[in-house]
């Protein structure tokens, strides 16, 4: 039996009041994350994945934001929590790693100071020496060579990959239970990406961290994720285990994502496959399934929004939002001998 979830998100809705009307960035999503589990949230820009992550941390709170639903961290409701209480959780029980390590550190302070700041915000019993020693320990834990000396460097003296390691070290400063990594490898080159993912995977195993990994890159997902949430236009369109998503994908959007992965073990296609069209404006969503306008398999039923539910008999907890029958899906996702989304006529 898997352990009880550390984080439970139920029917989370995040909207922003804009001049063009209410922009529903996240429209009713549900998921659980357990200790030692990596949940990947996948989607294009604007699918609501980063907003989801930042809402868990309370970073989207503002006058214009409408946040509804429930986010429970270990039995504590975060959506309703006062700002001060959320602030105490941030950096202490929830650590966050951001996309661009180049700009995510303040350029004017030494790294040891910035890491110490994270500790001082939550513990007042730590001396400067303690915090410095802890920063060195953290640098060693994330594999930064010569940690004792490098910890007093400025951010600009670090390379991108090293900065991302330092960022992870800072997120881990107070041993959080939940780590949210928002596109942690997007700004890095491929060899460094692999190292950072390996580090995240190792930390997840060694420390039983619950990890939410936000990315648009299915290659990254394949490396480390246990469960996968595919988001499109603010909604989850498919949810399942890593294997289910990669080998038995149910939603045409997931097929499209898988189909547009470049494969080195197959002959090179003339053109790299892509999903035609662009994501819809969140201010003007189509009725029914939001992927409908880009979907070559659209039929009459699609003007009605399908619920996210288990539609395959063989695997429970594998949910999707598509009206096609299981047989149709199995047949239609085969494009040129592999999974993909066929080009529209």
């Amino acid at each position: 039996m898997s352990p009880a979830p550390l984080l439970s998100v139920r029917d989370l809705r995040v909207g922003f009041a804009t001049e063009g009307g209410l922009l529903q960035a996240v429209d009713g999503i549900n998921f659980d994350v357990r200790p030692g589990e990596v949940l990947a949230i996948v989607g294009e820009s604007g699918s609501g994945k980063s907003v989801t992550a930042q809402t868990i941390m309370g970073l989207t709170r503002s006058k214009n934001a409408r946040i509804e639903g429930s986010v429970m961290l270990d039995g504590v409701e975060l959506v309703e929590a006062p700002d001060a209480e959320l602030r105490r959780l941030r950096g202490d029980r929830i650590g966050m790693v951001f996309q661009d390590p180049m700009t995510s550190f303040n350029p004017v302070y030494r790294l040891s100071k910035q890491i110490g700041e994270a500790m001082a915000a939550h513990r007042d019993d730590l001396s400067k020496q303690d915090m410095h020693a802890r920063a060195v320990e953290l640098f060693e834990a994330v594999g930064i060579p010569d940690a004792a000396r490098r910890v007093d460097d400025y951010p600009h003296e670090f390379s991108g990959g090293m900065r991302q390691r330092a960022m992870i070290a800072m997120a881990l400063a107070l041993e959080p239970e939940l780590l949210i990594a928002d596109e942690p490898t997007t700004a890095l080159d491929v060899t460094i990406q692999a190292q950072i993912l390996e580090l995240l995977g190792q930390l997840n195993r060694d420390r039983q961290l619950a990890t939410i990994l936000i990315t648009h890159d299915l290659g990254v997902v394949a490396e480390v994720a246990d469960r996968v949430l595919v988001m499109y236009a603010g909604r989850v369109v498919e949810e399942g285990s890593l294997d289910e998503i990669f080998y038995d994908p149910q939603h045409p959007y997931t097929w499209g994502l898988l189909g547009s992965l470049t494969r080195l073990d197959r002959p090179r296609p003339k053109r790299l496959p892509q999903i035609s069209g662009t994501p819809p404006s969140l201010l003007d969503l189509p009725t029914g399934c939001s992927f409908r306008p880009r979907c070559p398999h659209e039929f009459a039923k699609c003007t009605e929004l399908p619920a996210l539910e288990e539609r395959t008999a063989e695997s429970p907890r594998h949910c999707d939002r598509c009206w096609l029958s299981s047989e149709q899906k199995r047949e239609k996702r085969q494009v040129g001998g592999q999974i993909g989304l066929e080009a529209p006529a």
């Binding site: 602030r87 950096g91 995510s104 004017v108």
Partner: protein, 319 residues
Amino acid sequence: MARFIVRRLVGMVFVLFVVSLIVFLIFNVIPNSPPAQRLAGKNATPVLVKSIEEEWGFDDSLPQQYLTMMKKVFTGELIQYSPRVPVDERIVEGIPATLSLSIGAAIIWLFFGLVLGYYSALRAGGKLDKFLTGLSIAGISIPVFLLAPVLIYFLAEKLKIFPNGFYVPLTEDPWEWFTHLVLPWFTVAILSIGFYSRVLRSNMLDVMNEDYVRTARAKGLSERQVMLRHVLRNSLIPIITLFGLDFGATVAGTAIITETLFNIEGVGLYAAESIAKLELPPIMGVTLYGAFFVVFINALVDIAYAYLDPRVRLGTSAQ
């Protein structure tokens, strides 16, 4: 850091050399009339003109003339001819008043500019912000020559809260020094208060969108810590540059108008009087003195800048 300072000071000497060359060219070489005639002043006797011509060596080659001029500047032999007073003596006499005025005004404008800018940025778009914006635009728009007479008329003449002009040395009577300078200080400061609060506000609004500010929030810092340590701290870097230029310009320029309006016997008033009487040696001296201050303060500011922004110290840009 030490290397940076040395490099900056060497640069400063070079800039001053170029400034002195330009002064030499403008005053002694370019004008199409005998330089001795102009140096002597409006109603000079032929004897005086003749002696100046010999003294300054106007028959020598240009490099030699330049050296003669610089020798005069450095040895205190640069004198005004009617009445015969060494220029450097007059400048040194005026410096305490000018610095009292400039430094006091700078403290006032930095303090109010930063405080108003900070709160304006925190409440961006709100009523307080709109009010402060209006106030600073008004401050920026009022010309000094209008503001000073208005202040003098209402606060000094009518209400008699402050004395009307003149300078009392700090060593003589600190309280009198202070009360005499309040109006001139604000006269100089008001434009800059408006300007600095606008600049700080927009810097802060830019910095608030930086990724590292989001990181600071994600670490669980309080809103106040985020604002002061991350947003304000990084927004001050461009303000320092601005301050270097403005402070130098105040000592060397703005003081001329304000000192004249308030009858403060500083370097600025001396410059204004010399210009009115077309006395070249003092103008030359004051120009060099002003250039020295602007360059010197900018060197100091660059050093402060390196302290505030570690990326400058190493001579490498960000990233």
